[in-house]
C-alpha cells in the first residue's frame, strides 16, 4: 500500500518460471480492464445512480434518495408482483438444482462408465442447450397447446385423456412447465461439467477403495461425491445466476405479463415490463431500482454459495 520499498522475502515464487515486471503485467491486464470498465462497470454504476433519481421520460429529474426502492415495496403493482415473481425465480432455481444434481449427475456418471457412447450422448444432451431458449420456449408452447399440441393428443391417444391439461393456461401447472422446460434445456450443462469432473478423479483412488472392499454405492458416496464438490459448487452458482436472470423461456411461454394471471412471472419480466412497456414516465428510475436489487441479491447469494462450498471443500480435504 505504500510507496516505500520494503525488503521482503517473497513468500511464493512464481510457479510459471516467467518473471514479469508489475508494469508489464499491467499492460497485459489493461485491455481486459478497459473492456470491463466500459461495458460492465460503467453501465452497472449508471444503473445504480439512475435508481436514485426521479425521471420524466429520459430526462433526469431530482435526486430522490431511496424513493424508487420504497415504491417497489409499497405501491402496486410492484408490491404484489415482486414477491410473486421472486417465489417463481426460487422455484426455477430449486427445480433446476434438483434436476441437475440428480438426473444430470446420474447421466454424467453413467456416461463416464460408457466411454464408447460418451461423446455421442454428451452431444445429444447438450443440444437443447445450444438452441436459443426463446425457440425452445416457443416450441414447447406449441407442443402444449390445448388445441393443436401433440402432448395432449398423445395423452388422449394412449387412454390418459383425463391427464390432458391446458398446461400453460392453468396457473397450477404453468409455472411447473416453465421449471421443467428450463431444467430440460439446461440438463446438458451438468452432464458436461460433471463429466469433466468425473474424468478428473484419478482411477487409482477408486481402484484402491474397490480393493478394500467398498461397493459401488459406497465408492460413489465416499469418493466420487466428495471429489465432485468443487464442480457441484460451480454448477450451483451458475444455476442460481441463471435462474434469477431467467427471461427468454418464461417470456416465450407466458409473455411479458407472466400469463396466465401472473402465474409465470419472474423478476426479469417485471423489469422488462417496467422499463419498456409501462407508460410511466419514471420507468427508468423504477426499473433501475429493480435491476440494482436483482444484482445485489444475485451477487450476495452467489458469494454465500461460493463461501459455503469452499468451506465444505476445506473440511473434506
Amino acid at each position: 500500500m505504500t510507496a516505500i520499498p520494503t525488503p521482503k522475502v517473497r513468500r511464493r515464487p512464481p510457479r510459471t518460471g516467467i518473471m514479469l515486471s508489475r508494469r508489464a503485467a499491467m499492460v497485459f491486464v489493461l485491455p481486459a480492464f478497459v473492456l470491463f470498465a466500459v461495458f460492465i462497470a460503467y453501465p452497472l454504476l449508471t444503473a445504480l445512480s439512475y435508481s436514485f433519481f426521479g425521471w420524466t421520460g429520459i430526462l433526469r429529474g431530482d435526486f430522490v434518495g431511496i424513493q424508487n426502492y420504497v415504491t417497489l415495496f409499497t405501491s402496486l403493482p410492484y408490491s404484489e408482483d415482486i414477491p410473486n415473481a421472486f417465489v417463481h425465480n426460487l422455484l426455477l432455481f430449486l427445480g433446476a438444482m434438483l434436476f441437475q444434481n440428480t438426473i444430470g449427475l446420474g447421466l454424467a456418471s453413467l456416461l463416464h462408465r460408457m466411454p464408447r457412447f460418451r461423446r455421442f450422448f454428451q452431444t445429444m444432451y447438450t443440444l437443447p442447450y445450444l438452441v436459443s431458449p426463446l425457440v425452445i420456449g416457443y416450441l414447447w408452447s406449441l407442443m402444449l397447446s390445448p388445441l393443436f399440441g401433440p402432448v395432449n393428443a398423445v395423452l388422449r391417444g394412449i387412454g390418459l385423456g383425463e391427464l390432458a391439461q391446458p398446461w400453460l393456461g392453468n396457473p397450477q401447472t404453468a409455472i411447473w412447465v416453465v421449471v421443467i422446460v428450463t431444467a430440460w434445456q439446461w440438463i446438458g450443462f451438468p452432464v458436461l461439467l460433471y463429466g469433466a469432473a468425473l474424468g478428473g478423479i484419478p482411477a487409482e483412488i477408486d481402484e484402491a477403495a474397490s480393493l478394500d472392499g467398498a461397493g459401488s454405492w459406497q465408492r460413489f458416496r465416499s469418493i466420487t461425491l466428495p471429489m465432485l464438490v468443487p464442480a457441484i459448487g460451480t454448477v450451483s452458482v451458475l444455476t442460481f445466476i441463471g435462474a434469477m436472470e431467467a427471461f427468454p423461456i418464461p417470456y416465450a411461454l407466458g409473455g411479458s405479463q407472466g400469463n396466465p394471471a401472473g402465474a409465470t412471472d419472474v423478476l426479469s419480466l417485471l423489469f422488462y415490463r417496467t422499463a419498456f412497456e409501462s407508460g410511466s414516465s419514471n420507468a427508468i428510475g423504477t426499473s433501475s431500482a429493480i435491476a440494482t436489487l436483482l444484482f445485489l441479491f444475485i451477487f450476495g447469494i452467489s458469494m454465500l454459495i461460493t463461501w459455503f462450498m469452499r468451506r465444505t471443500e476445506r473440511k473434506l480435504f
Binding site: R23, V34, G57, P146, L168, G169, G255, A261, G279, S281
Partner: protein
C-alpha cells in the same frame, strides 16, 4: 505505485468513454445548410410497409419538389429504444412515427417533440378519442398527426354462417342463439386466445362497451363521478362469464396465434378482434370469406345502439431537434390531408385517422360502416395506460382469473379500480 497505475487505468477508461461519447456528433454533418433542397428523415416501426411508404412519399415529393423524404423502418420491438436514442442525439429523424396515448408521454415529457397546434390544419376533423392519442397528458397540447384508427368488432366466417343457416345477430338473444346453434353443431362459436392477456380487454370492450356506456362512461369515470366498481361496469364484465361457454374449453391455455388459426382454419366461426386482424386473416387464409358485425346490445345496456370501440394506432410527430422544421411541418400538414388518408387506405390497408376516405376492400368497407354507425373509445387503452399498472394489463389478468374461476365480475372490477388508482386521479 499501485495508485499511479490505477489512475492511469482510470484515465484510459475515461478517455475511451469520452471517445465513444464523441463518436455520434462527429459524424452528424449539417446537411440542411446547403441550398434549398431539404431531405427529411422519417422513421417508423413498420418494416413490412417500407415499399408502400416509399410509394406514398413519392406522391408527396412530386408536389413538393424541394423536399426529399428518406423513409427508414426499424424492428418494431426495438423501435422505442432506437427512437429514444435517436431523439436524444443530433442524428435523429426529422419526422418520427411515434406511439399513441400513454406510450407517447415519455417522449413528450422529455421535450423531444414539437407541439403542432396551429401549425397543422385539419386536426379538428379527427375524432377526439383518436386525436387524444397524440396529445400530451400534462399540457393538453397536440404533438402529432394520427396515422391510423383501429376498430374492434366481431369477425365471423360467412361460409359457416351460411351452412348453419345463421344470420348476423341484431339483438342479444339472437346473438346467444347464434352461439348456441354453433355449439350444437360442434363448431367453436368464438375463438379467443385468452393465454395472451392483452386480447382480453379488447374482448371485454367488444362485448360490453355498450353495456357500461362507452363514451358516456368515459366522461363520468374521468370526471370522478363513477369508478370501475360502478354496477354497469361490473355488469359488462359479467357478460364475459355469460358467454364463456361459447369459447374453447380451457380457453386460458389458448394462445392468440392459436386462436387466429382456429378462425382461419374454420374451426371457430367468430373472432372478436381489431381491424388489424383483416390483413392477417387475408394472409393466412386468402380464400376465407369473412365479415364483421357489432355485438348487439345486451340487456340493461346504457347505450341505445351498438358500438365499435376504437383507438388511434401510430402518429407522426416533429423532432424538436430537427434542423428542417419548416419542411417537417409541411410534411405533417400533408399527412393530415384526405389525400394521404386515402393512400393509407389503398397502400397500407389501414383505416385512416382522417375522415372522408373511401375503402375499396369489401371487408374494410363493412367494418368501417359499422364503426361509423356507432363509436366508443377503447376505454382502457385510450385513458388508462398513463401509469403503472396499465389498466389493460390489470384487466387482462383479472379476466384470466374470471375464466379460471378465481374471481368474479365484481372482484375483477375492484382490482381494476385499485390498480389504476395507483396513478389515476379523477378530474385531472
Amino acid at each position: 505505485m499501485r495508485r499511479r497505475i490505477l489512475t492511469t487505468a482510470a484515465l484510459l477508461a475515461g478517455s475511451a468513454l469520452m471517445l465513444s461519447a464523441c463518436a455520434p456528433s462527429a459524424s452528424s454533418g449539417d446537411e440542411a445548410a446547403s441550398g434549398d433542397e431539404v431531405t427529411l428523415k422519417v422513421w417508423s416501426w413498420r418494416t413490412e410497409d417500407v415499399e408502400a411508404y416509399n410509394r406514398i412519399f413519392d406522391v408527396f415529393e412530386e408536389a413538393h419538389p424541394d423536399i426529399t423524404v428518406e423513409f427508414e423502418a426499424f424492428q418494431n420491438t426495438e423501435y422505442n429504444q432506437i427512437l429514444t436514442t435517436g431523439l436524444a442525439g443530433s442524428d435523429g429523424p426529422d419526422v418520427p412515427m411515434v406511439r399513441a396515448y400513454g406510450q407517447l408521454q415519455p417522449n413528450i415529457e422529455a421535450g423531444q417533440l414539437e407541439p403542432i397546434d396551429g401549425e397543422v390544419d385539419g386536426l379538428d376533423d379527427i375524432a377526439p378519442s383518436v386525436l387524444a392519442g397524440a396529445k400530451g397528458r400534462a399540457d393538453g397540447k397536440t404533438y402529432a398527426v394520427p396515422l391510423a384508427t383501429q376498430t374492434l368488432q366481431m369477425f365471423y366466417n360467412k361460409a359457416i354462417f351460411e351452412e348453419q343457416g345463421l344470420e348476423v345477430p341484431t339483438t342479444w338473444s339472437e346473438f346467444i342463439d347464434v352461439n348456441e346453434k354453433l355449439l350444437a353443431a360442434g363448431i367453436t362459436p368464438m375463438a379467443l386466445g385468452a393465454k395472451d392477456d392483452w386480447i382480453l380487454p379488447i374482448f371485454h370492450d367488444i362485448i360490453g362497451s355498450a353495456r357500461y356506456g362507452g363514451a358516456e362512461f368515459e366522461e363520468k369515470v374521468l370526471a370522478g363521478e363513477v369508478d370501475f366498481n360502478d354496477p354497469d361496469y361490473v355488469a359488462s364484465l359479467q357478460l364475459i362469464t355469460d358467454v364463456q361457454k361459447y369459447l374453447t374449453p380451457d380457453v386460458v391455455g389458448v394462445s392468440y396465434t392459436d386462436s387466429q388459426i382456429q378462425f382461419t382454419s374454420a374451426q371457430a366461426a367468430q373472432f372478436p378482434g381489431g381491424s388489424f386482424e383483416i390483413a392477417t386473416f387475408r394472409n393466412q387464409a386468402p380464400d376465407l370469406e369473412f365479415g364483421s358485425y357489432q355485438v348487439p346490445l345486451p340487456e340493461g345496456a346504457v347505450l341505445d345502439a351498438p358500438v365499435s370501440p376504437a383507438y388511434a394506432d401510430g402518429n407522426f410527430a416533429v423532432n424538436s431537434k430537427s434542423k428542417n422544421k419548416e419542411a417537417a411541418f409541411e410534411l405533417l400538414n400533408w399527412l393530415a390531408t384526405p389525400e394521404f388518408g386515402q393512400l393509407v387506405a389503398d397502400e397500407l390497408n389501414q383505416f385512416s385517422a382522417i375522415p372522408g376516405v373511401d375503402y375499396q376492400d369489401e371487408i374494410m368497407q363493412e367494418a368501417w360502416k359499422n364503426a361509423e354507425a356507432g363509436q366508443a373509445p377503447y376505454l382502457l387503452l385510450v385513458n388508462f395506460r398513463y401509469g403503472e399498472p396499465l389498466g389493460t394489463a390489470v384487466l387482462g389478468a383479472e379476466v384470466q382469473k374470471m375464466f379460471l374461476g378465481q374471481t368474479d365480475a365484481a372482484g375483477a372490477a375492484a382490482a381494476l379500480q385499485t390498480g389504476v388508482s395507483q396513478w389515476f386521479t379523477p378530474g385531472k
